[in-house]
């Protein structure tokens, strides 16, 4: 991946394409590259939908190689939702294909002078960009179908739905999976709105004729990959739990813990959660789709296969297996316990191109406001359809929970830096509240997600039983995650990496063998720190201060049943997270 594709959408005479060497960005990938480019090239005070913002799409360092689990793609920009730097991450096929075509990043710059939509096609022969107004206000599914009809079935697509075209702050960017369905999303932070502001509807990627990326030391790489795969397969999380039940395996556990945000974060337990648990969902999927329906990888090279296929009551494909976050956001957080309704909401999110977490949280806020009743699945579906239609109410909802809360006068709005909280109540899991508050990304559960005992041991030890250990733990987790996000690895490698130091070492060995380096765990830590540092500095210049590293007030005041606790981490402790 030795080149960067830059497309100036606002050039005189129409979009201008330029391919240049990676230059100073050599050695960066994924989030490392998106944050490097955004922090260096985007004026922090620019309007997120304006010409000065950039949308950076970058495969990971190992994407396009035979490394297992290396198919994640990072999308970076200044976020229209948070006003700070954003990296959103997705699975699917595009990362592998872009990697094999040799692109370290695609950078969309400028802004079209006319109100046109464009289609970009990238293959081994180069890049072509054409007006595509015939795709205007199509959903992602129809858009991809049209691309399939035109370019064949071996492509992958990166696209926006109606939400992105309308530049709504809850808009996502869709990436197609192995079946060429737009089911994997760079969801968080309104990245789809930025793509819409750039006038790009779809990027078609065709790597026909390209080979797998070759490592510098093939023998060492092969050995490390073998060790890596073995570690992932033998671990009960990556080798059994996730393939069998998907991420929704968490519903029963988090609910039992009393940390399952229910009806707009009013309670920590949802009475009928077993109706929407991963166990129930997997059984339903297999009943309708046959054995194996609940086990599916989102990209080639995925061996965890945490996804699945959800058929409707008539046995027709409806959507991919809804993730834990979707089942929670549209389910328990809205008081809905109907898996078919939740699956429909998932389909609508994917088709309109909406962040499922933001959308579910927003509907819950709207329910609290009385726009609909908690538990009314039909009403929730109607509200999401209004977003896709662009009605005035739909535009409010599509702009996220913070805006919706303001419009309807709701106090309990669970956002940090304007971004909605995911499916773990910080009053129950206080440490994740530290991450929600302090990550540069806004409330984000994946920002401090990667765990590695090797990294945890570097830079000092942590007493896990002491409350103050949470600050240091959150810091180290955010560092580790930033580094893993640069590799293109799926974050579900986290558990085997935690339990099996040799598996983490295998990851480092793969990177070293691929690039001819001699990285150590210390270097991984340094990489993570440098990414976080650049993101923090951007945010500071964008006007975000320590006052934005806080949870909403109600978490400190409202006791969460059943444990009746509040968020107890002090503000001055939150301010220590990035003091390293």
């Amino acid at each position: 991946m030795d080149k960067i594709l830059r497309i100036n959408m606002g050039a005189d005479g129409g979009p201008a394409i330029k391919t240049e060497p990676v230059g100073d960005y050599a050695g960066s990938g994924g989030r490392g590259l998106t944050s490097a480019i955004v922090s260096k090239e985007v004026p922090p005070l620019c309007h997120p939908l304006g010409e000065d913002n950039k949308l950076v799409i970058a495969p990971g360092l190992l994407s396009g190689s035979t490394a297992a689990m290396s198919g994640r793609i990072s999308v970076g920009c200044k976020s229209p939702l948070t006003g700070g730097i954003k990296e959103a991450n997705a699975g699917g096929q595009p990362s592998q294909m872009l990697g094999r075509l040799g692109y370290a990043a695609i950078v969309l710059e400028g802004k079209p002078k006319e109100n046109n939509l464009y289609k970009i096609v990238i293959n081994k022969d180069g890049v072509d960009i054409k007006e595509a107004n015939d795709l205007c206000m199509l959903g992602n599914y129809d858009t991809v179908d049209k691309m399939k009809a035109q370019y064949g079935e071996k492509i992958s697509c990166i696209s926006i739905g109606q939400a992105g075209e309308m530049k709504l702050a809850g808009a996502s960017i869709a990436c197609t999976d192995m079946e060429l369905r737009p089911t994997r999303h760079a969801g968080r932070g309104g990245v789809g709105a930025v793509m819409g502001a750039k006038g790009v509807k779809v990027i078609v990627i065709d790597d026909a004729g390209m080979k797998m990326r070759e490592p510098k030391d093939p023998d060492k790489f092969k050995a490390a990959n073998k060790e890596w795969v073995a570690g992932l397969k033998k671990h009960p999380v990556s080798g059994e739990g996730l393939p069998a039940y998907g991420t929704n395996v968490l519903t029963n556990v988090i609910n039992e813990a009393g940390a399952y945000p229910t009806k707009n974060f009013m309670w920590g337990r949802f009475d009928t959660c077993e109706k929407i648990s991963g166990e129930t969902q997997a059984a339903l999927e297999e009943e309708r789709g046959g054995k194996g329906a609940a086990t599916h990888g989102c990209h080639r090279g995925c061996i965890i296969r945490c996804s699945g296929t959800f058929l409707n009551k008539d046995g027709q494909y409806l959507t991919k297996q809804p993730e834990y976050e979707t089942v929670w956001a549209h389910g328990g957080n809205c008081g809905i316990d109907d898996l078919d309704a939740i699956a429909m909401l998932d389909r609508l999110d994917d088709d309109f191109g909406l962040d499922t977490i933001e959308m579910g949280a927003t509907i819950a806020v709207a329910m609290e406001a009385g726009v609909a009743e908690f538990g009314d699945a039909e009403a929730a579906i109607k509200l999401v359809k209004e977003v896709g239609q662009g009605t005035p109410l739909g535009r409010i909802l599509g702009s996220g929970a913070a805006v919706t809360g303001k419009v309807f006068g709701v106090e309990r709005v669970p956002v940090v830096k304007g971004q909605s909280m995911p499916a773990y109540d910080p009053r129950g899991v206080q440490g994740i509240g530290v991450t929600y508050a302090t990550t540069p990304m806004g409330a984000d559960h994946t920002a401090g997600y990667a765990v590695a005992s090797n990294i945890m041991g570097v830079g000092g030890s942590v007493d896990p039983l002491k409350p103050e250990g949470q600050i240091e733990l959150s810091r180290n987790l955010q560092i580790a995650t930033a580094a893993v996000d640069a590799t293109g690895m799926c974050l579900f490698v986290a558990f085997p990496v935690l339990d099996q130091p040799e598996t983490f070492q295998a990851l480092i060995d793969m990177i070293n063998a691929f690039y001819g380096l001699s990285l150590t765990a210390d270097d991984v830590t340094a990489l993570g720190k440098s990414i976080l540092k650049s993101e923090r500095e951007f945010n500071l210049q964008a006007g975000l201060t320590s006052k934005d590293d806080r949870l909403p007030d109600f978490f400190k005041k409202e006791k969460l049943p059943p444990h009746n606790i509040t968020f107890q981490v002090k503000d001055e402790d939150l301010d220590q997270v990035f003091n390293w």
């Binding site: 671990h235 009960p236 999380v237 990556s238 059994e240 739990g241 996730l242 069998a244 039940y245 991420t247 395996v249 968490l250 029963n252 556990v253 988090i254 039992e256 813990a257 009393g258 940390a259 337990r269 077993e274 648990s277 991963g278 166990e279 129930t280 059984a283 945490c306 773990y424 009053r427 129950g428 899991v429 206080q430 440490g431 994740i432 559960h445 401090g448 997600y449 765990v451 005992s453 945890m456 942590v462 007493d463 896990p464 039983l465 002491k466 409350p467 250990g469 949470q470 733990l473 987790l477 974050l491 579900f492 986290a494 558990f495 935690l498 059943p562 444990h563 606790i565 107890q568």
Partner: protein, 263 residues
Amino acid sequence: MKIWIRYLTGDGTRKMLLFTDGEPLPESPHLFFLLSIRICESAQITFNGARYRDSIFKMTSLELSMPHVRLGTKAHLTPRFLTLIAPGFRLKVKTGQSIRELFCGQLGISDDYFENRIQTIFLDGKAVDNTDAAWVEDGSRLALSAAMPGLVGATFRKGGRYASFRGTISYSKSKESIAGGDGEITLKFFNMIARELGPAFLQKGVIVEGHSFRNFLLSNSEELKTACISIHLNDEKTDLAGLLEMNWENEQVFLQVTSEKSC
């Protein structure tokens, strides 16, 4: 040991008596003797649809206080019963013991399985770190899970490095406050633990709510018709229709499911 006996008097009045360890209720000694006389002699006793005479006194099982349903099924049907017990099922146990003593001692789970496979345990909704210092009481609710994905999954792992993340909802209670004796607990099995332990517990016998049992029968009637090999209610052979005729509201059911080889 407690036994509820419902009985019909000679004039058809339905009555119920608590029979405790062979001793009469203090407030109605004469009634007991009258009952026993009537049982042994001429009383007609209807016990949840089945009729008994003096043989009732030969039963010593604790589960006499509720209907006892025994199902023999083809192997492929057993996983369906996991949905019935997913919200939780009850067991009679000795209380005042640690969680480890309960599972490895009383309930016969191997030490290796308990230690390595059951990675997440909740006791009354609180995450447990030390299974030797977490005590089972009458009315306790225990939930077991295999290893869970992601950071939050790691956070709830027993004795895990990230336990401080959920320190405010971790289990902590001293043994002094725990009463020992006979009691009843609720168990919940999640994910792989449900698949692996559920069938064995169903075979030994679990207590479920009657209305849930009825709903389960209705929702799975087609499958039960074809894959249920034998159905017994209180040791008398019956069929699915017979079970569905029962009024299960306000009842608890002692259910045993034995998987037999598929034909």
